[in-house]
């Protein structure tokens, strides 16, 4: 280990000699620091590859007037239930399809299929988010109608999915009233990246301490353009505003 830079190149693996000079055991303090390495300018975004594939996905969607929505939240906020109820409500009116992201299992895909929409499940294994390439590969397994809605249900995680553009038209962040109303302050990146916030499970408000007004205020501090709908996917309360919003996205 080199003491000056912490690199793990062992000193004795480097030899310095002129042409014709035999390999000698005589140690030299020199190693690769003394040799002039070559500098290569890069200046490229770390996620440039992902962003390129996301742009490709976005072109595909826009050419077919498909509205892709990236649904993000903590685990258990009710994303899949919202999708089930949305599909049941808009079936026959707007063509819809779903890409389901989970670390494991086909469980969510089976629920969506039962609700009546074509679905592809992406299992990310240990991965904590969907990326643009996963969505691109899923798209190759789907036949999407023109002027349709594509819901991309991301892995339940409020941190990592914020960084990865999938090519969606908008991110929809979902928070349920069984969580803390301070989530927008704790996980600002996701609320900053979203265009719409669904506050779900409002039928439980009488039983929990969740303060809706404060949640909205916190979320607006992070993103002053964020729109909100308060809904209960279970009872259907407030769902019509969300459904109307979806109808308006299809032009």
């Amino acid at each position: 280990m080199c003491d000056s830079c912490g690199c793990s190149q062992p000193d004795n693996s480097v030899t310095i000699r002129k042409p014709g000079q035999p390999m000698s055991g005589s140690g030299s303090a020199d190693h690769h620091h003394a040799r002039k390495g070559r500098l290569i300018e890069v200046r490229e975004a770390v996620l440039g590859k992902n962003d390129g594939i996301a742009a490709h996905n976005r072109e595909f969607f826009e050419a077919r007037r498909i509205v892709a929505l990236n649904l993000v939240s903590s685990p258990g906020s009710g994303k899949t239930t919202i999708l089930e109820r949305t599909i049941l409500a808009l079936r026959g009116e707007i063509p819809m399809a779903v890409i389901e992201g989970d670390q494991q299992t086909m469980l969510d895909a089976e629920r969506i299929e039962t609700a009546g929409a074509p679905v592809v499940q992406v299992n990310t294994g240990a991965g904590c988010h969907l990326d643009a390439d996963m969505v691109h590969k899923a798209l190759h397994q789907m036949e999407l109608a023109e002027k349709s809605l594509l819901f991309i249900e991301n892995v339940g995680n409020l941190v990592c999915p914020a960084m990865f553009d999938l090519g969606e038209a908008a991110k929809v962040v979902i928070i349920s009233v069984t969580e803390g109303e301070d989530k927008p302050l704790k996980y600002p990146a996701m609320f900053a990246a979203a265009s719409l916030c669904l506050i779900n499970k409002i039928d439980l408000l009488p039983h929990v301490d969740f303060d809706v007004a404060r949640c909205r205020e916190y979320a607006l501090r992070v993103n002053h353009q964020l729109e909100f709908f308060e809904i209960s996917a279970r009872t259907g309360e407030g769902m019509s505003a969300w459904l109307d919003w979806l109808r308006r996205q299809i032009i």
Partner: protein, 120 residues
């Protein structure tokens, strides 16, 4: 594999792929250091990224390379009063008018600036 529950692992893999491709295209045999620009609002934990980079670089041209991270301050412009100030989170509050309507203008960068290769 458990490392992948951190997005820093994905980022590290992306960095290693990017710099390996650049080094290879330039005929470099081994990458000795990578210079990265990381905004303080980019969502990256520097310590986690360094840890993940070391793991992701194994058995690649970047194995053992030193990851030099240049952090960039977050900067926001207040949309209400126009004041420009340093922010340390996406929850920037204007120190002049206390407003929260702040446009983040700097600090989300995440870029590989350069690398150094050995050619032999």
């Amino acid at each position: 594999m458990q490392l992948q529950v951190m997005h820093e692992m994905s980022l590290a893999i992306n960095i290693v792929e990017l710099v390996s491709a650049k080094a290879q295209a330039a005929g470099g045999q081994r990458i000795t250091s990578v210079e990265l620009e990381a905004g303080k609002l980019s969502g990256v934990m520097v310590e986690a990224l360094v840890f993940c980079f070391e793991a992701a670089a194994r058995n690649t041209l970047a194995e053992g390379a030193f990851l030099e991270i240049r952090e960039i301050e977050g900067r926001g412009n207040c949309l209400a009063c126009g004041h420009s100030f340093i922010v340390d989170s996406l929850l920037g509050q204007c120190p002049q008018c206390d407003g929260y309507a702040v446009e983040i203008v700097q600090g989300r960068e995440l870029k590989v600036l350069s690398l150094i290769v050995d050619e032999e």
